[in-house]
Symmetry: C2
């Protein structure tokens, strides 16, 4: 058998983000005999997915949904826009925020930096322990760490791994308001999806027809196919004009599902199937 | 008739935000004979709505949905959590971003500050005119203006009104990638909603039953009641556990709709009706 070159995995950087942890978990899970695998950080979700679509890298790992904050809309929008990427795998990772600072104690802190989602997920903890401080949003949890250097009045919310990577002290552990906090990531590539227990698709329906969304959902309900998720996103044409993303608990390779898709085509304007895949749970 | 005291309207501040423009448009539309009306900025959407719920102010104005970025999830989550607020009116406002800076020309700019939604809405313009710069998120479009003082390498994306309010020069107009960019706001209070052409509600359905969402949608479809919007939000209990927000084009005071709600109760776990109201269009 020819030796295939090791794939490169694109992820939302910089190093130390939860997306990097997801990319590493995927690399370990699927390429355990392959230590030549490379990870490559990209500055945005769109650029991560575009790098895969353009063939710069073989694989991309992007966040899709958090159990507290909901959908990562940038990922859905980019996947719809780019169109030809296929989901190979879903990964669910626990998200454990820690409070990082050079301060000796919390009472010294005046400013906290983090990604808006992380700030929102620790809202209650921040109100209880640091009520009179300024919250400043950053582009990623890792970027927040750039503000800590020799500044004992400043803190950041990020992951334990990021603290270790940048050799910064952790002042408080488990600060998320919701202990069940986890994020789902998708692993995408230009390869056909492998098939699996879950299938993701997106579609638009004719506008302003009562029940236009009911028909597509009914197609799955009558076949007893469970919908595990539905999201609406604006088409960006006008207010009230949507596209829908759904996940079903079924395999697109199953003839029952293929029949459902044939019927679905007649009730949708545009239909894009992003693939069938398995969900694995990782740990950070 | 007794002279009622002028109401105070809470909005997402600071002064100069699009939410303030919406609050002003509402004040003009509904209280044209009343110039004693007061506007009061709050630091977050949750605090804006909580101020109304606690009776600190009579009315609150919050953004609900943007035609490009989609739902303002913080508003849906807070409305569900607080529960007893009722929608009095919806307002649709055009969003016209401008580029504000003390620089003489765009080539001097090295850093751009704005709210992440505004940065995302001007992505193409930024790439075409300012490709090698750093983008820094802020809590509001107005907050971005704080970084401009005597700093000709810095720019901000905000509204024309904010530029005028803070007496700052506009370097470029109409920089949004989508000319049809507009945002819908809700006006809420503790009063019963007045009734109108649109009704908003939220509900949860029993988990993991195939078609659990189909039934509620069918109830409206069979009555030819159009759904103008559907959003799913995580319940924050576990990944894959959702609550749904829908807007219907019908009046909750209509007996047909009341019958639909009675039927809806038997297929939902929790059902909250946020009121029926009219939609008005404002201009900034």
């Amino acid at each position: 058998m020819p030796l295939l070159p090791s794939p490169t995995i694109a992820y939302l950087g910089p190093p130390g983000t939860y997306s990097e942890a997801a990319a590493e978990a995927y690399a370990q899970h699927c390429h355990s005999q392959n230590d030549g695998i490379k990870l490559c950080p990209y500055p945005s979700i769109f650029q991560t997915l575009e790098a895969v679509a353009q063939g710069e890298v073989e694989i991309g790992v992007v966040p899709v949904e958090n159990s507290i904050q909901g959908s990562v809309t940038m990922t859905l929008d980019a996947l719809w826009q780019i169109g030809r990427l296929q989901i190979q795998q879903a990964l669910v990772l626990p998200i454990a925020h820690v409070f990082i600072s050079q301060a000796k104690q919390l009472s010294e802190i005046k400013t906290v930096y983090s990604h808006p989602q992380a700030l929102a997920q620790c809202q209650q903890w921040l109100e209880n322990h640091l009520s009179q401080i300024q919250l400043i949003p950053t582009n990623s949890t890792t970027e927040a760490l750039q503000h800590l250097a020799n500044e004992p009045t400043v803190g950041a919310i990020s992951s334990e791994q990021a603290a270790q990577l940048y050799q910064l002290p952790i002042l408080a552990h488990s600060i998320s308001d919701y202990p069940e906090n986890c994020t789902r990531f998708w692993v995408v590539s230009l390869q056909p999806s492998p098939g699996g227990s879950h299938t993701s698709l997106g579609f638009t329906v004719p506008a302003n027809i009562p029940g236009a969304l009911v028909k597509p959902l009914q197609i799955f309900a009558t076949r007893e196919i469970n919908l595990s998720r539905i999201e609406s996103r604006p088409t960006k044409r006008s207010l009230g004009d949507y596209l829908f993303f759904i996940d079903i608990e079924a395999n697109a390779l199953d003839p029952l599902v293929q029949a459902a898709f044939v019927e679905l085509k007649s009730y949708t304007e545009t239909l894009k199937v992003f693939g069938s895949y398995e969900i694995i749970s990782g740990s950070t």
